[in-house]
């Protein structure tokens, strides 16, 4: 199962299956509602490896993610378009697109044991723009 994450609208952020370990999509609404709530949001969570580049043949985007996560809310660049593809057996099983995503949480962990660090990125679509989220999938592609 392969993953491709691309965030556009600022410094380039791109990860593929070599870096991404887990991906999660959530569509969440309040648990105490008696009927369908208007207050629902959609988010993407990505867990991955921080693959450092040997001699510059690959670019590691984690530095750009870190910069994105520290942008102040006044900056227009804090909202970006995030697209995640989940690919298996020559099919795009899912293609999630959050056109106005902002960073909810970004964590990096590095130690002297594992060799590569890991990151966790939590993105959410700006809530009033939840309807712009695209949930595609079920077509051929690699």
């Amino acid at each position: 199962m392969g993953f491709r994450l691309e965030v556009t609208g600022g410094d380039p952020i791109k990860f593929d299956e070599r870096a991404i370990i887990n991906a999660e999509f959530s569509s969440l609404s309040p648990h105490d509602s008696n009927a369908r709530a208007t207050d629902y949001g959609m988010e993407l969570k990505i867990w991955g490896k921080m693959l450092f580049s040997l001699g510059g043949q690959e670019s590691d985007s984690t530095l750009n993610v870190s910069k994105w996560s520290r942008l102040p809310s006044e900056d227009a660049l804090c909202y970006r378009s995030a697209k995640l593809d989940v690919i298996a057996a020559g099919n795009v099983v899912r293609q999630f697109e959050l056109p106005h995503a902002f960073v909810m949480d970004y964590t990096e962990e590095l130690d002297d044991e594992t060799g590569v660090g890991t990151f966790y990125l939590h993105m959410k679509q700006k809530k009033d723009q939840t309807r712009q989220v695209k949930l595609e999938g079920g077509f051929a592609g690699e």
Partner: protein, 143 residues
């Protein structure tokens, strides 16, 4: 054990294949601080399962329909749908849960680089004022 889930209404009838659904959990939610029988009773269905990729030109599984349902805003009538969960064991319909006015509370999909397939969790509730319409049946031969 075979779990068959059908969702109808809202202009998009679909069935979540028995190959996909792994577990169902039905709960009746009663406030824990009630001193006597409460009026505030709700019911929840939690479905968990797998997201499969099509091979050999088979049709894609309908799990994406759940994601699309979870994106329907509250203003649309299509956010309430009729959900039936049938648990069939050895030719016997062990349980048949019917939530005629179910809405999505949470929907999550998880994909990992180890499992090979994705997993989903769908949390549904019956519209609280329509609780009487929830049906729990079972114990008869499955057709």
């Amino acid at each position: 054990m075979s779990l068959r889930v059908t969702v109808s209404g809202g202009g998009g009838d679909f069935e979540i294949a028995k190959e996909c659904v792994r577990s169902v959990r039905m709960t009746t939610d009663i406030p824990l601080n009630s001193d006597a029988r409460t009026k505030d009773v709700g019911s929840t269905l939690i479905l968990k399962g797998k997201i499969l990729s099509a091979v050999d030109g088979d049709p894609f599984d309908s799990t994406r329909q759940m994601a699309l349902w979870s994106a329907v805003p509250a203003e649309k009538a299509a956010c309430y749908r009729n959900v039936t969960v049938e648990v069939i064991q050895g030719g016997i319909m062990e349980r048949k849960y019917t939530f005629p006015n179910a809405f999505v509370v949470d929907y999550q999909e998880h994909f990992g680089d180890v499992e090979g397939t994705g997993t989903f969790t769908l949390m549904l509730k019956q519209k609280k004022d329509k609780l009487n319409n929830v049906a729990v049946e079972g114990g008869y031969p499955a057709v």
